[in-house]
Amino acid sequence: MINLTIDNKPIQVPEGTTILKAARMNGIDIPTLCHFELDGMNFENKPGGCRVCVVEVKGRRNLAPACATDVMEGMEVLTHSARVINARKTVVELILSDHPNDCLQCEKNGDCELQSLTKRLGIKEIPFKGETSTYRKDSTLSVYRDMDKCVMCRRCETMCNKFQTVGALSGVNRGFQAVVAPAFEQNLGDSSCINCGQCVQVCPVGALTLVDNIADVMAAIADPTKKVVVQTAPAVRVALGEEFGMKPGEIVTGKMAAALRRLGFDQVYDTDWSADLTIMEEGTELLGRLKKALAGEEVKLPMFTSCCPAWVAFYEKNFPDLLEYPSTAKSPQGMFGAVAKNYLAPKLGVKREDLVVVSIMPFLAKKSERAREELSVNGDADVNFTLSTRELAHMIRQCNLDLNDMPEEDFDSPLGQSTGAAVIFGATGGVMEAALRTAYEVHTGKKLPRIDFEETRGFQGIKEATIDFDGFPLKIAVAYSLGNARKLMEQVREGNPNGYHFIEVMACPGGCIGGAGQPYHHGNSDIIRKRMEATYREDAGKPIRKSHENPEIIAIYKEYYGEPCGHLSHEQLHTHYFDRSDKVEATK
């Protein structure tokens, strides 16, 4: 243990603790800007660049960045001396002097870390007037970049390079012109970007924001010739409440369905339903591959899940040689779209073009997935618009509603009923667990001895387990973050030495619950933890917890698809992948 004083208060902390953490452990909250940590998820950004957290250390010539300076025995730290306050204010004033300061019109208004810092330091005017840096605005289908607002905290860069190993963003130019951008300042869309949107989730200011589609959806609702249906992803219901002042982890499924109805959607459905459908298709595909493998046939194993669109884009760009490994099953969003346009539209008595399918998703990558050409028919996309959890919250507020006041309502049928297996799709390991529940029973013909697969749960970056499939040892792995996924892919490329059969990958921290379209967590990983707890709570409370037992799923196979991985489902519910490595090669 190390003894030191902070603001004259004697404290004791373990060796290797930073001044920032030591202070926070002792109730002293030193302000930060660039520092960002997702505790327990192996993500930390501490370039020591913003210099907001500087503190005075006795005997040291200059001020020390608290976020990146380890405590030392006998250290005397002052966090609010006149020298520190003056320096800290001056530094923030400098940052503001190169910022558009158009807070009222900014996407991040009210949710901006620079704004709260300014307020906290009591900055009333900016003494420095001078040139402000301006850059070309740029957008993909998911991410909007306005680098005029960039404060060079480099969180996005660390997220993109270290956590996701995508390498689309890095510091370019020098001095005042320095900014984070794709190589050669090309468009983000032309880079190795996979639209996971995590750069948006971690951006402290409004430099990186989502592409807002609220107006498109409002217009569709207002169009009398269109029938507008909506689907909501599993992770949305455990996070939306935060936008309305509820505690993290509150489940708002019923209130959300009610709000969506009041917003004017004609039918309110559930992506959870298509998650169950995904399990049927993906699980069957897995069993099919396993059977072939056991029969000694040539087959690609391990099979990877394919429901995360950022992950799909990632392997298309980075592992074009392994495109036959992932499951061909569409994502739940994609499956829902296909079912809606092919099966539901005639049922509702509308033409496919007049049925507008809107999805509410916790990620931004879904906005890009939606637009994939192979997920449309004659130019009409299966899913017409994708909104994030945050956009849905905006829309609800815009329409003078408060989620708190909503009654509990159910989803519409027939695409509304779901099982506990579908609910857990939102958390890392959830798809795996859901698939295991079904695959086990289908494969062995026996009831599961235990329904909870604890080995797939939790925040460990890569989880491995061997599941006893009635004598057959099924080797599985679960990863979140594309950096972890890359490690597994590289193993597969080297011949799969661990003998995995099935691997689940989600791009975002903790899975979809930590998605880029979710309410901003500002680095508070407890929020993501609470969302995960809620997910498993909801699962545990569901009367049916296995996808193959969902009566609506059983019904649609009976009525329409025949059997999983059958001819029709293959046509509508499965997809194929493309080699998109040229965009990665170009920036190497």
Binding site: G48, R51, N86, V91, F128, G130, R174, A178
Partner: protein, 604 residues
Amino acid sequence: MAKYKMHILICGGTGCKSSNSLQIIENFQKALAEKGLSNDVQVIKTGCFGFCERGPIVKIMPDNTFYTQVKPEDVERIVNEHIIKGRKVPDLLYTNPENKEHVSDSKHMDFYKKQIRIALRNCGFVDPENIEECISRGGYEALGKCLTEMTPEQVIAEVKASGLRGRGGAGFPTGLKWELCAKNHADQKYVICNADEGDPGAFMDRSILEGDPNSIVEAMAICGYAIGATKGLVYIRAEYPLAIERLKIAIRQAREYGLLGEDILGSGFNFDIELRYGAGAFVCGEETALIHSMEGQRGEPTLKPPFPAVSGYMGKPSNVNNVETFANVPVIITKGAEWFSSIGTEKSKGTKVFALAGQINNVGLIEVPMGITLREIIYEIGGGIKNGRQFKAVQTGGPSGGCLTAKHLDTAIDYDSLVAAGSMMGSGGMVVMDETSCMPAIAKFYLEFTCEESCGKCSPCRIGNKRLCEILEKITDGRGTMDDLQELRNLAAVIKDTALCGLGQTSPNPVLSTLDNFWDEYVEHVVDKKCRAGVCKKLMSYVIDRDKCIGCGKCAKGCPVEAISRTDYTAPGNKLASMVIDSTKCIKCGACINNCKFGAISIK
């Protein structure tokens, strides 16, 4: 074969090369061949002699005759007169600016009198492309001594005892740095030579690499032996093609002679060196930024700790020293720590190479003992201020340093005294200024440089320096206020206090030191709107004395913007009405002053 009777040394450094020294060499070889003297007289292309003010330099040995500003067409005369007839060519000799006497021998030139050449010992003496010349001067014997007679600990102890401090600027004790790196065990360690000399106007490292690359190769190997590294890397800017070429030759020859590679001198010690090229970013002189650049990352600094001695290149313990530091090492080993530490001051031992520049008679590269005064450097070695003007300030330490004034002239300079005086040693830039320099404009000049060269990582440096620059621009444009001076001081102090790396922490030094030493000049700029040096164009106005003006109108004809017109006032005794300048139109080009034969136009 008969022995050469004469050697002609011709500077092949970048400076003299650009003044056609290669042609001079060619002409010598041709002329000697024609006279049948090729076997009697050897022509050697050397590194820099330091006296760049008067390059190209040709030195004739053994007569020890020092010819300056030699042109290719002078070669024939030198051969006919000096080489054949033994008569020196007087007009090519150096002329003492004070008594106008010719000085034939470099030892008697003021420029060289006070110099002690340790790091530059072989520059201008040997052919840097011939390792044998280096060996015959005792080159690689220090390495041999270390490998056969000393333990790594003894080598470190010797370097520590010598008191050698880093010549790159910060002055960290070299031996201690080696020791820290030696302590960390790893499967691979690296010796890194920082040859990313980035201060504007500084060229000591380049000159050493061009003039004596073998000393760096040798020193890196010694360091490798001391710290337990088998790989050396030289980070050198790509803008130094000649230094790169000479270094490559030295490395190749050292390998051929078994002085690099495996089992060096039968000791079992292996060491080899590779080059890494930098793109010439100032910030890459900072060791962590340099390492990132070598790794292929963005060249920007990271926080220390971890120090490179713990986690450097590729995460392995690495020792980074600059070129000049390394150049001192072999001498310390051969002559001993005691000898080395007898030169210099209490806390700064040995010598320092400075690049002397600015408004001074003898511009060039000098190596002087620590503890010498600025006065000795400027007035004796430097030959005083150009054109007999008044000394005003000397800027040391490059963009990170500060401006010192006449009151500092007798300060014995070393690492600590320069810091105490508000400047720093830096890598050794020394720019002398006279009364024609405007100090706020000088501060602005350096700030513009740091703005360009900031990596942009930390806010104080990225935005703060820009704002400092903008305030200085306001002041030099005549828009400044006393509040601006206050803001300038506060902001400069905060940047110094909060910036991430050495670049940002020192970038306000030119501002702070000029504020301290030339406060009046700042006040003049903001209150009186005057620039006494006549540098700040926006503060100048051209005025016609209506009584001196005879009304000839030549000024108006030459004015490019038609700012001059005739008044209705005729001075007594004149026939024509006088002229007047419309200051709102005037662009201060100075054409009117040059056109006026009557001295009627002046700058106010």
